[in-house]
Symmetry: D2
Subunit: 389 residues, 4 copies
């Protein structure tokens, strides 16, 4: 009966969360390097954004129903991903900056980030039509944390980004609820990051293969200090024919299963580092995400929301100060290794998203195939770009 099922009951949501959480934990697919894709630079221990100490990532994945689309009922293939710069233990802001390569998307909170130089609170990624509910839920979550006797934050301007999953998901059904936002935030953790069809990336499509969440990292030596730089992406952009991996024309070689004729998607790229960068330097780092994306063959189509953010976990005292505080500043002359790391880790995070995502069937029986690992290896070999183990 339609009336009864129109909105998921809380129980259904809870069950859903269990299932999604369970499947997320079971990632055992290889990553891009395991397949022999060559990359430059030296990754961190996890090859993930969580190599930057303190950074936590949490997902809430919502997969429900199948068959024809009934708006408000499903099928649902969506979710929320949370990135907490200093984890759940700290509300202290981080120095941050953002950049829009192509603005057909949303990232709330950027106007204040631009002026304050700060990211205050978590960074959330979801689907296009759920940005609002996620935004307000972040405020509710922060108020809840602040305890009953405390008014909490006078005001919050949460940062919520999105990409569009309407090809597979009932995106106009508004299935993301406050509970999913709380789940993504509460479950966030350091350590290994689940990639592929999870969280905000659940229903995403990349170069007309199944896309989603991907991550990577680099270790950087700048002279006065060694730093970590990590990237997480929600990859939902690109045409098949444009896809290049490690310089090989993969999209021209693997042509089957193309989904559309013009770019429908977007990509959100989040860069974290523990290098002591100031906001104006982080803006330059954020801009480099463009160059990593370009290596994949993207020309950043009109319909794409290619929006990037970079933050530094260093200088906690200065970023969170209400008075006068000391900060460490890295000379501009030493930024090149960080720029290079941002480009490399962006490139690898995207390939990781493609490699991790599994074939998905969504609304109206629409099916988006995963990038076939064997075919990828064949193409890399053809172009002498396969790294043999």
């Amino acid at each position: 009966m339609r009336a009864r099922t129109r909105r998921h009951s809380d129980l259904a949501i809870a069950l859903l969360i269990l299932v999604a959480g369970g499947s997320s934990a079971a990632q055992d697919r290889p990553r891009a390097r395991d397949l022999g894709v060559p990359f430059d630079g030296r990754p961190g221990a996890l090859n993930a954004i969580t190599d930057v100490r303190g950074v936590e990532v949490g997902h809430s994945t919502i997969i429900l129903g199948q068959g024809p689309l009934v708006r408000g009922e499903g099928p649902v293939r969506t979710g929320v991903t949370a990135v907490l710069p200093r984890g759940k233990v700290s509300d202290e802001p981080v120095f941050a900056a953002w950049f829009s390569l192509n603005g057909n998307g949303e990232m709330t909170g950027t106007t204040w980030m631009e002026d304050s130089g700060l990211l205050e609170g978590p960074l959330m990624i979801t689907n296009t039509h759920s940005v609002g509910v996620v935004r307000d839920a972040v405020i509710a979550w922060r108020l809840r944390k602040a305890g009953p006797d405390h008014e909490g934050f006078a005001w919050s301007l949460p940062v919520v980004a999105e990409t569009w999953d309407g090809y597979l998901n009932d995106t106009n059904g508004f299935h993301v609820k406050e509970a999913h936002v709380f789940e993504a935030l509460d479950r966030s953790s350091g350590g290994r990051v689940v990639e592929g069809n999870v969280g905000g990336g659940t229903g995403m499509i990349c170069h007309e293969f199944k896309g989603g969440i991907g991550t990577a990292s680099r270790l950087v030596d700048t002279g006065p200090g060694s730093y970590r730089l990590g990237v997480i992406v929600q990859a939902n952009y690109g045409l098949r024919r444009q896809l290049r991996i490690a310089g090989a024309p993969v999209g021209a070689e693997i042509t089957e299963g193309a989904v559309w004729r013009e770019e429908q998607g977007s990509i959100i790229i989040v860069i974290a580092t523990d290098a002591p960068l100031l906001p104006h330097q982080l803006k330059r780092v954020a801009r480099r995400a463009s160059l990593g994306l370009a290596r994949m063959g993207s020309t950043s189509g009109n319909g794409s929301g290619d929006i990037f953010i970079a933050f530094s976990t260093a200088n906690a005292g200065a970023a969170g100060s209400r008075g006068l505080a000391g900060a460490q500043v890295l000379s501009n002359d030493l930024l090149d290794p960080l720029f290079e790391a941002a480009v490399q880790a962006t490139e690898e995070a995207i390939v990781n998203a493609l490699v991790a995502a599994e074939t998905m069937t969504g609304r109206d029986g629409r099916r988006v195939a995963a990038l076939p690992h064997d075919r990828l290896r064949e193409v890399l070999k053809k172009y002498n770009r396969l790294t043999e183990k």
Copy 2:
């Protein structure tokens, strides 16, 4: 019982809307000119943003309860204001641009406005913590309009701005609901615009007097054409001591009732014109709102979200085209009268907000007094700035 009243029933909301709508319609207070405040330039027939043909404004005002704050229960002093560039009859976009004088605020949708040069759909203004619900509700409203057989818009990136009303309102109670958003949109109309404690402006405070919604307009002659330029503001910014009206130091003269020590507020300024301006020209117009605001004595404090938008209702064909279309373009050499009009109308709209707003008592018995009209006239007279009728 607390549980029962924690969220307003739909009935309560409906009643509320009736009451608020009723009181809004009863505006018979004088406007700034009626009090003898001198302004430069020539206003339109209504001296309102609706002098720009096609523009519609709608309010949903939520006033409920009194006494101590109980989060989620009230007291409630908030609302939503909708500005529809081409009215309810047209979904066609308008050329638009935005500017942030100080970014401690939110205006969603600006990243796409920047790249597209378009405002696609209505512009909404509400309180800081209700931006999300309003944003998603605009999508729902557009989907509803598109009819049952039609999937509606592939994706929407609504433009929603805000100022903070937490001094008078239970802003952390999230009292704005989808129904309020629909009401503001459905009730929008041309003609006279209700000012003061209405819509998004309900609980706002300006220069430590009661603030809210204000509007004004100018007729502009540029040589090849005569145009209209209108402004609407949600005024919630400023310290008392800084207030200047028509150059007179009103804030230094009327010192009683000061509310706070440092700037807590913000101002959203919306500029409409029927002059055929392109997006890069509209950005220059939006920037001029700063200069009108400055005439009031503002120094745009760190805590203020002073965010402005300008749009042109001309060139409907070009703004909404999916192909190649013709547009009229006004030479940069002819922009000066429009720049001047933007400054003048911004200044007058703010004074109109101050003059229209009535004393309000909100949460915890907090009271914010209206600007006393007689005292204002006395100060203007003292500084030889009173226009006698």
Copy 3:
């Protein structure tokens, strides 16, 4: 003979410099405060940008000939003004940022300032058509300073701004030479700053009165520290009818001697502070110059190049570091007094320029009258804005 006089001989330039320098030193005209113009805030000891310790200002003034314009021969009414953030003793950069309220002007070097967060070297102001010669001469000056055995700077991207003096000056005659640039730089000093018809301001016009160089400063208390903020302007903007001083409609009262019908000019505003601000914070300070300018009645016409720069002399170690260095950072929450000081000092610096400038006759016998001090006092008195001593 025309050929002989077409370009000034070096001797003529030397003589000129002596004369100009001599007259400059003899400034004994009152400043705005001396005339009873009321201002808010507390000025520094000199009420000049040089109240910020280390900042030096130097002028080279070129006044030559009279009568009809012969391009390349004169009459000449122009010059160069140099602002050295750390004086001649130090080449260390300062943290800096810029803002363009209206871009019909030039400030070279801003692209690198934006990314580096630094002003490396002096800031120069001259006339529109001499920006190039001044720019390259700054490089030559820096190379000369670096000594014969040293290659000097690998590359320099000097910051040179301008306003247009073609109404009084043979601006197409390219009369500014390398020697003038060296003179302005070499003569720079702390202490009292000569205002009015000097340096880059020599031939400038403001609100259709004679304009030029003006300066002012404020002392700022932010809690953890007391700071100085100083402003210097090259004022060449505005229509007569728009002029307001201290809120009084001076331009509407003193109407004689209007020069043109639409805005022809520009204003360069330079803000210095010793508060430890980072580049993204300095950008916010620079933007406040708009608000000081607006208090004068400006609507920033299409023809105006209203370009502003703000720098901080604090954090010399971090700004000049080639490695990892410590910096002091002031919380955003403490910026309001600095924002207010920037607005106030901008306003006062402009009025000081108007008050200091003397009536000048230039090319083709064109005469631009100074703002008459007695008339100004009368108008202020009429509007009850005269501060009696």
Copy 4:
């Protein structure tokens, strides 16, 4: 005697011009496509920016002396390149926009381009320390053109960009003179564009091979119209190890002759199209140059001035109007082929610069080798990326 030779006599300059012009005309080296480098998209007839009708390019090349550096005497390896959007026959502006990927460089005139949406006059490219002389000379050239009875332009804000050639050239000797600027402008023409060691590109270095000027174009079909998009670059950026051509790791394969350890250079990228784009759309096109550059392996180092400009020759009436004029506007929905063309033509123009440039010996006997064509073909073959004819 040093004094005599310190500045080149006019005769020397004239001779120099003859020689340089002669050698420029003799370009018979193959272009990238001739060597079998694969590119996507369809080039125009000339595969040059001059495929966009009306666009003219002119070079002035200055090569003089050899041996040890004596500042002011040489050796000289520099020049000026002029790009005239509507050729010498028209002073009408074009709609234009710019973008800075990394701002360690100069492009004058951008502040006005940003606000006006116009490029008024030619676009010049030279070496870093000659930007000033070139800028002022453009004004002089425009004044000269306007004739003796005419005052010419009230003011000009020329657009002059640069990259740094100090490794090979006596860049601190200021060898570019007004005469060279006039030459580049007067000699500009449509048709074939000389590439490599010419004009502003004379002394440039790219990925540690000899660099310089390169060009390419694409034909674009957008549905309602077919358009041309052309690119010209002055390529002076990049590390050897980062160089990729057509996805092949050319820099990792051809390692000999590396010049430096960190990025010293820059790249100026100029994009022309006859598609009727508005300024805000051209900004998006300019931004795409980043993506073409990224395909070459660049990570846009801190020392690089990677500054891009895009202009449209369409809508001459609207761009140059002083009143109200009609314009054609292409929907955002149709931009993708132009974005793709901008990326592709940027990539090919850079490879063309590398392929055209010849080995050069400059100051202090420093030698920079050209990219060896045979080695390039070998590497492409190794990675299965060689297009056999």
